[in-house]
Symmetry: C2
Subunit: 385 residues, 2 copies
């Protein structure tokens, strides 16, 4: 087995584990920064190393369109192309084709679309998506899926799920073929079913007949209210096997991390920490604020006083506020670095708390300190040691 559960929380479904991949072990729960186009936005691979990033998410669809799979294959695979040595999980691109591509038509065998970059015509099938991931040489592969938009009614969602399951059968066959040919990749196909518990259970039942290494939970964070996310996630996870890692796709604020782990999630990714950073939003363990807040202009303390990242060890809010206001590119990198650092620190703390039996207590503590108002966040930080 590639995944081992090393500890469980007594009062929730949280667990701490270790996932062995072709590019190192990944300690779970893990937050994976997103490198959609083979780059975690504004950061370099030196930055990922100094942050201690063990796993990232990249995107088959984006890399297939640009630079093209053949370029990456020529480079010796995605790890060599990027010069990143940790675990890479690749999203299938199903979500992106459906939400970003122009003029897409979906049929029983795949999806035809025009590139959002240059309008060229393409077709993705379940087999093709496995082939792309094989050429990329990523460590964990997903499968082509159909993600129902939100809101969708039960009939629509069922249709999307049925197609996803049919494609999954084809994907499994293609994956096993690659495995037989020597691939070391792990299979993390995507479970759909929208926000209808019976459909999620149907999906889980189908998934149980597939030879998987882990299960990706897709179709969340598509615009639904958070309570619905947790309600359906809760029911879905309960119907999954204990021994397999569960990867919740596209969900990942600090609060989400605690909530999802409590429900039994092991892996998460989210563009949020880097996306908001480019807009000046700073994450702290007690909440967020924007660096353009006028209180930052003459605040010579770090972004977060208790933080140990290189940005907080050296630069002040006042300096980063100036860089952001002056539209200096460094602001994006420095704030992104800090935000990702916080996510990784929280994931490590969560893991440690599961192992030492304090998860539920630490979770309560975390939420009790969260401040909704950015003024309160700044005031709290100002009086921190």
């Amino acid at each position: 087995m590639s995944f081992n559960v090393l500890g469980r929380d007594a009062k929730s479904r949280a667990r701490a584990g270790l996932l062995a991949t072709a590019h190192g072990e990944v300690e779970t729960p893990v937050y994976m920064p997103v490198a959609t186009q083979a780059s975690v936005k504004a950061l370099s691979q030196e930055d990922l190393e100094s942050l201690g990033v063990q796993a990232i998410l990249s995107n088959s669809y984006h890399l297939y369109l640009r630079p093209g799979t053949s370029v990456i294959k020529q480079a010796g695979g995605l790890h060599r192309f990027m010069k990143y040595d940790g675990m890479i999980l690749t999203d299938s691109g199903g979500f992106q084709v459906l939400s970003q591509a122009d003029l897409r038509t979906i049929d029983d065998h795949g999806v035809s679309f025009k590139s959002h970059i240059d309008g060229s015509a393409h077709r993705l099938t379940p087999e093709k998506v496995i082939e792309i991931q094989s050429e990329l040489g990523s460590d964990c592969w997903t499968a082509l899926d159909v993600c129902a938009p939100y809101p969708s009614d039960e009939a629509q969602t069922r249709l999307a799920l049925e197609r996803t399951m049919r494609w999954l059968d084809l994907s499994e066959k293609a994956f096993l073929q690659k495995k037989a040919e020597g691939s070391k990749a792990l299979f993390f196909p995507i479970l759909q079913g929208g926000f209808f518990a019976p459909l999620r259970l149907r999906a889980a039942e189908h998934m149980s007949q597939i030879k998987t290494d882990g299960i990706s939970l897709g179709g969340f964070s598509v615009g639904e209210p958070k309570e619905l996310t947790w309600e359906i996630l809760d029911k879905t996870v309960q119907s999954l096997p204990e021994q397999k890692p569960r990867y919740l796709m596209g969900v990942g604020t600090p609060e989400d991390l605690w909530e999802a782990v409590a429900l039994g999630v092991d892996m998460m990714d989210c563009v949020w920490p880097t996306r908001v950073a480019r807009n000046g939003q700073v994450m702290t363990r007690v909440g967020k604020y924007n660096i353009s807040n006028s209180l930052c202009r003459t605040n010579f303390k770090p972004l977060e006083s208790s933080c140990s990242c290189f940005v907080c060890r050296r630069y002040s809010k006042a300096y980063l506020s100036h860089l952001h206001r002056s539209r200096e590119l460094s602001a994006h990198r420095l704030i992104s670095y800090h935000n990702i650092h916080l996510m990784l620190v929280l994931a490590r703390e969560i893991r440690q708390s599961i192992l030492d039996g304090s998860f539920t207590e630490k979770k309560r503590e975390f939420f009790s300190q969260i401040k909704k108002d950015s003024k309160d966040v700044l005031a709290h930080d100002h009086f921190s040691p």
Copy 2:
């Protein structure tokens, strides 16, 4: 004396020296990266340290407008604000007021203008510019000057020069007052005179009566043909004292570095290496090419094969070409880093060649290898070891 000449080339006016400042010694000839808004665009101060940058140029006018001198004073000065410990030379902003500010009116005592940022009204005088630099705490101060646009006739240029000289007298008084109050800053006022040799000689004569630590040569690189730059620079430098460092403002491609040093220049700055980097232009010691050149798409060698910078040690043209095409922010930082690294390496090689007596030979060698066509640059690099 703050400046010591340690070696001279026998066949040109090139010299190697050491400038002692309140923030370390600067080995000359030196190329100074530009941090107009207290940031070398796309780089962090960690990057400046790993590059071995001993001196940077910042801009009084820009910092006065944003974040405002009082913010930087509160931070404990520009070095503490930026967290940069090397030498900082500040441009007066005369050039920027005249070229960037809205609705400026210039009179005998100073210049009134509206901010290009928010339209607010401001006035700079010679005394005010010294005061600003004192509050910034930079190491080398310039003086408010009037830079005649190109082309200007002799009468216009003379008018600008006369105003510059009158202002310089006032600036000197203000500088000496700050010195008497304990300032450790060095005085590098700006010599104008346009492209009229007699006016440059007049300016040099006036400058010789001022208590300066070094001389900034302004009014070059304003749109004139290169031959004119060198012709007037040549005549100007000949009329300057031997023992003072000469700083040629705003000039600094690799070719410029060799030419200007041969004419007796010690210090240079230029935004060019970082500005073109953001447009994808890669500098090498044999010429330049754009990373978006289709030849780069599947070239898995570094930006420059002979380069030892961290970017070239790790990443390929193909990867950087992908990042640039995909508009990933890291492309700006990585190419900027490489370009600045080249400038610093060239400046160090120039210095060494002056000290070991091979400057003229090395200069000839450098120019003989320059290729004008980017295809030739790429081909040369491709066959490099």
